[in-house]
Each structure stands twice: as structure tokens, then as C-alpha cells.
């Protein structure tokens, strides 16, 4: 993996994978759109909308393209709302756009920190003697054998729901996966011939680890990280949905679904569209991760 000509081969191969796999391309496009939308969300939508109340346009559907059934109502005066309004008369589409950056930021912070905690503990486990290795492995065992959502709920009840707590909680739950993964990767990489060759040439341990072994074993972790952006958004929104939202009006996708449930039959759009957004974001990152895995898996190359 040290050859200079490799990057160009990689780019060509990447393009080939993208054209062969339309779904991956779709994932990349959706993810780009979502990231751009969330970067500019405060320009597109007035951030004060979250705290505004317009009871004249409460729980109404803003166009005549869809008939939601007998218990739902259309907005008065033909006021146009693309995705209808919620209990406080707020435009749902704007609320969804407002919610995007928060969800993405939480997921990004959690995955990045879990990645680095896991990578460092994993390398320590793989490189130190069996005693430390065993201790680290047993701790990951412990965390991996409790259903993650349940542990998150217990911690959230105990320490109270706040954004920082929620982020910390999920971080605590997520590092074991990366520890396991990086430990396995590094153990396998350590036994390869080129490491032997480096050692015989007199390269130091630290140099071998950080210049050679870690870069060569990091790709599966990157795939996992891409997929985990989606998974973390799912678990964050599940926690918010189950009632761990720090504030009632917080524009967060799971919270929006949760707030919509009281009016599920009169305003089904309040559940359908925020949930569909969570699904789309998770799907985009999962499609990307899936394509990355194909890209990096030498067994699938022809």
C-alpha cells in the first residue's frame, strides 16, 4: 500500500464502483444535499420559528394534493405549507430543516470521539501483553452484552436529559465497537510479512504502529464510522422519541416524531415526514458506507 501510483488506481476504481453501483451514487448525492442543507439551515429558516406559536394554523395540511382522511383538516385561507403544520402552527418542512444540523452534529461528535477512543484502546490492547488486552476485552464484553438503548435510557434517567448528557451517554456506548474492530485489524496486520521486514530494517515500534500498521488497518474503521453516522442518528432520535428530549420545543427529528404522536390520526404528516427524514439521512450514510466497504474489500475486486 505504499506505492506512489496507487492513488490514481484508487480513483479510477472508485469511479468504476460508483458507476457500477447506482445506489452508492444516490447515497453520496443525498448525503451531500443533507450536509449542505444543514450548513445553511439557519439562513434558509428563521431559527426563532422553533419558539413561535400561530394557533390560527394549527395542525393543518397546506395543499390539496393529498387527502389525509376524515379527521385531518386543510389550512384556512388556502395558506400553503409544503408539509403541513404542527400543533404550534409551525411549518413542518422548516422545522425539519432546522433539526438537521443538530442531529448531524451530535452524530459527528459521537462517531469521531468513539473512533479515536476505540482506536487508541484497540491499539493498546493489540500491542500490550495479554493482561491488559484481557482487561480491555472484558470491559468491551460487558458493554456489548447490555442492550445499548436500555443502558442509554438508564443513564439518561439518572443524569437527566440534556444534549451534553445524551452525547456522552452514546459515546460511552459506542467506543467498544471500535476497540474490538481496531484490535482485530491491528492483530491481523501485525503478523504480516512487511512488519517483519520493517523490524528487520530496524524501524522503531512507534514508527511501525503509527506510520504503517494503523494506516493500513484504518479503512474498515472508516467504513464502520460512515455507517455509524446513520446508526447514531437513529439511536439519538429513538432516545428523544422515548421522552429524553431536553426541551419540549427542541427541533430534533426524533422529538418532532414524538410530539406528533398525540395527533397521529388528525395530522399523520407530523410522524411521516420527520421520520422519513431520519430514514433518508441514515440511508444515505449507510449506502455510502456500503459502497466504501466494497471499495476497500480486496476480496470483492475482480
Amino acid at each position: 500500500m505504499k506505492s506512489k501510483s496507487l492513488p490514481r488506481v484508487r480513483i479510477a476504481y472508485t469511479l468504476k464502483i460508483l458507476t457500477k453501483n447506482p445506489l452508492v451514487l444516490i447515497g453520496v448525492i443525498i448525503a451531500t444535499i443533507i450536509v449542505i442543507l444543514s450548513l445553511f439551515s439557519h439562513v434558509l429558516v428563521n431559527p426563532n420559528l422553533a419558539n413561535s406559536v400561530t394557533f390560527s394554523n394549527q395542525l393543518c395540511w397546506g395543499n390539496h394534493l393529498i387527502n389525509w382522511g376524515p379527521s385531518s383538516t386543510y389550512c384556512r385561507n388556502n395558506h400553503f405549507y409544503f408539509l403541513g403544520t404542527d400543533y404550534f402552527g409551525r411549518d413542518l418542512l422548516s422545522m425539519i430543516i432546522l433539526a438537521l444540523p443538530l442531529d448531524l452534529a451530535i452524530a459527528g461528535i459521537i462517531v469521531t470521539s468513539a473512533f479515536f477512543i476505540g482506536l487508541s484502546l484497540g491499539s493498546i490492547a493489540a500491542y500490550s501483553g495479554s493482561f491488559v488486552d484481557n482487561i480491555i476485552l472484558r470491559i468491551t464484553d460487558l458493554f456489548l452484552s447490555i442492550p445499548a438503548l436500555l443502558l442509554a435510557l438508564v443513564i439518561a434517567v439518572v443524569f437527566g436529559p440534556s444534549l451534553i448528557n445524551l452525547t456522552l451517554i452514546i459515546m460511552v456506548l459506542w467506543w467498544p465497537i471500535y476497540t474490538r474492530l481496531s484490535r482485530g485489524q491491528i492483530l491481523a496486520e501485525k503478523e504480516k510479512n512487511y512488519v517483519e521486514a520493517l523490524k528487520s530494517m530496524g524501524a522503531g515500534d512507534l514508527r511501525i504502529i503509527f506510520r504503517h500498521i494503523v494506516p493500513n488497518s484504518i479503512f474498515p474503521l472508516l467504513v464502520q464510522a460512515t455507517i455509524d453516522i446513520g446508526s447514531v442518528i437513529l439511536i439519538v432520535s429513538s432516545l428523544m422519541f422515548l421522552g429524553f428530549s431536553p426541551a419540549q420545543n427542541l427541533p430534533e427529528l426524533g422529538n418532532l416524531v414524538s410530539e406528533g404522536i398525540q395527533n397521529i390520526y388528525s395530522a399523520p404528516w407530523l410522524i411521516i415526514f420527520p421520520g422519513a427524514t431520519i430514514f433518508t439521512v441514515a440511508l444515505a450514510f449507510n449506502l455510502m458506507g456500503d459502497g466504501l466497504r466494497d471499495l476497500l474489500d480486496p476480496r470483492l475486486r475482480r
Partner: protein, 349 residues
């Protein structure tokens, strides 16, 4: 190492893990009396603002004043006496009784979801691998990746809206959206196993069976759609790898039909990695039931654990996590043993 020694070692490790799990949950739920202190379930719901005297009385009466490690020993005493503590919120019953009554319902949901997942996931994975890069593969990829991108709670409500609410509006045969059977059957039919679908069949009670089965459909669908992705992807990638092996080329060159090559020669080896992720699937199932039972008001242990969380009933939470951890641990152990039997190259370490 012999199988028995391997089993003994792993079971011993598992006991350690279960002990660790119980300590984690115990310290979390008893050690930090924040918004929901563990004695909150003993307060009567009428007194919204209890006097400090009442709280002190409750704390003294139920041992919440003792040091944490002593409380843990009291919990251990409750465990060995068989009642695992008292769950006040569930009618002042022993925690074990509360759990045991609901557990069969969770088993019903989990098992039916696993059956559906296996029945769809394995053929879909095979199809995806044998038509790799073609339309069926893209379809299977989309289905499985969608599966693990779905917010479970959202899917649950979506199915409820469609099959319970809109089907009713459109005068189509609609499905029930909450509970494990019609309320008319609850308490009136004898309980044998606690699993409504099985009980009704054992008693030959056809209306009860129809009701229980209809109630099972939507939660099962929700759970299995969210599990499907992992299985399909694993079957696909292991099948692809097996199909590239020399013995498959040889089987094809012998002139065997593609069907025989795939189902008689390749599938058996390709399913081994699929078995190894069953432990993971069990773990996901147990996490998923908490949300799904809540969405469908399914009276199993997942929903109960959510209710227990909000009154900080540490004894119920510990029982639930210990049972979950034991199930995950045992299924991982079973996977390792089956793995060794199916693939003699792998030795148990």
C-alpha cells in the same frame, strides 16, 4: 482443549460479565439519586410533593439509607430468595413474578420476528449473491440497507397508520395496532405457556388464535424488517466468497446444474458466517423490543422495562439487563460451538 473445558471456561466468564452488568446497573440506578431516585416508586402517586419526613421514612423502611455495597448484598439476598426484589409500580408484586408474566410475550414477538427474518433474509442474500451486480442484487441491497436505516419507532407508527387506520377508512380488512390479543380474551382464557399464539392452539380456541395472530403481525413485521439487513448482507458476502472457491468451480465443471451447485454445495458453507451473526441479531432484537413494545403497547418485558426506568425500579431493570445479557452471552456461546461443529477447521480456543 476439550469441549467441556471450553464450555466451563466460557460459562465462568459469562457469570463474570453478568456480575459486572448487575453492578453497572445497580450503581447507576441506586448510586445517583437525581430526578428519579430509586425510592420514587414507593411514593403514593397522590402526593405530588412529598414531605422530607415521608421520604426519610421510605428510605429507612426499604434500606435506601444503607451504604451502596450493603444495598447490593440485600439485592443479592432477594435474588437468591427467588423474588428479585419488589416492583411497586406493577402492583407491589415480586419483580420476578412481574417479569415472568410478561417474558413469554416478548419471547413470542422475538421468535416470530426471527423466523420471518430467516425466511426472508437467507433467500434474499442468496439471490443477491447469485445475481451479483444485476437488478435483483441492487433490489436486495436497497431492501437490506433500508432495513437498518429505518427508525424502528417510525416504521411501527407507519404500519399502524396504514394497516390499522387507513385500511379501516378504506373499508379493507384491517389489523389491530396495540396489545397482544383482544382485551376480551385477557384474563378469561387459561394461561399455559403465557404465549397467546401457542396457548390458543393448545386449547383449540380458534377465535383466540386468530386474535393473537392478527395482533402479532405488525410488531413482527416491524422487528424483522429492522433485523433483515444484517442477515441479508452477511449471507450475500459469504455466498459471494464461497462461490469463488475452487471446489465450486470444480462442481460446475463436473456439469452439475446451477441449482445443485448453489443449494447443495455452496449454501452449506456460506451459512456459517450467517450463524455467527445470530448473537448480534439477538442483541438487536432485545434492544428493538423496548421500542417496538412501546409503540405497539405490547405487554412484554421491553415495555415494562421502559415503565420501570421512569420510576427507577432498579430491581426490574437489573433482572431485565441480566436476562438480556445472559441471552446474548448464551447465543454467542452457542454460535461458537455450532461454528466449531460445522467447520472442523476452527478449533475452540
Amino acid at each position: 482443549m476439550g469441549l467441556l473445558r471450553f464450555l466451563a471456561k466460557r460459562l465462568l466468564l459469562m457469570v463474570g460479565v453478568l456480575f459486572g452488568v448487575s453492578v453497572i446497573i445497580f450503581v447507576l440506578s441506586r448510586g445517583f439519586p437525581g430526578k428519579y431516585p430509586p425510592w420514587v416508586q414507593y411514593l403514593s402517586s397522590l402526593s405530588s410533593n412529598p414531605s422530607p419526613v415521608v421520604i426519610e421514612q421510605i428510605k429507612a423502611a426499604h434500606g435506601f439509607n444503607l451504604p451502596l455495597y450493603e444495598q447490593y448484598f440485600f439485592w443479592l439476598r432477594d435474588v437468591f430468595s427467588g423474588n428479585w426484589g419488589i416492583s411497586v409500580w406493577a402492583g407491589n408484586l415480586p419483580t420476578y413474578t412481574v417479569f415472568a408474566k410478561r417474558f413469554p410475550l416478548t419471547v413470542e414477538l422475538a421468535v416470530s420476528a426471527l423466523i420471518v427474518t430467516l425466511a426472508i433474509g437467507i433467500p434474499l442474500g442468496i439471490l443477491s449473491a447469485t445475481r451479483s451486480g444485476k437488478l435483483p442484487d441492487h433490489f436486495a441491497r436497497l431492501v437490506s440497507i433500508s432495513g437498518y436505516s429505518l427508525p424502528v419507532f417510525w416504521l411501527g407508527y407507519l404500519l399502524q397508520l396504514l394497516f390499522a387506520y387507513y385500511f379501516k377508512i378504506w373499508n379493507l380488512p384491517y389489523l389491530p395496532s396495540s396489545g397482544a390479543a383482544d382485551t376480551a380474551f385477557i384474563g378469561t382464557v387459561p394461561v399455559i405457556t403465557g404465549i397467546p399464539v401457542l396457548d390458543s392452539l393448545l386449547e383449540g380456541n380458534i377465535p383466540y388464535f386468530q386474535s393473537a395472530f392478527a395482533h402479532l403481525i405488525l410488531p413482527t413485521l416491524t422487528l424483522s424488517l429492522s433485523l433483515l439487513g444484517y442477515l441479508t448482507r452477511t449471507v450475500r458476502s459469504s455466498m459471494l466468497e464461497v462461490l469463488r472457491q475452487d471446489y465450486i468451480i470444480q462442481a460446475r465443471s463436473k456439469g452439475l446444474s446451477e441449482r445443485v451447485v448453489i443449494y447443495r454445495h455452496a449454501l452449506r458453507n456460506a451459512l456459517i458466517p450467517a450463524i455467527t451473526i445470530m448473537g448480534l441479531i439477538f442483541a438487536f432484537t432485545l434492544g428493538g423490543v423496548v421500542v417496538i413494545e412501546y409503540v405497539f403497547s405490547w405487554p412484554g418485558v421491553g415495555w415494562a422495562s421502559l415503565q420501570a426506568i421512569f420510576v427507577n425500579d432498579s430491581s426490574f431493570l437489573m433482572l431485565f439487563t441480566i436476562v438480556s445479557a445472559a441471552i446474548i452471552g448464551l447465543s454467542n456461546l452457542a454460535v461458537d460451538v455450532i461454528y466449531g461443529i460445522l467447520d472442523p477447521r476452527i478449533r475452540l480456543k
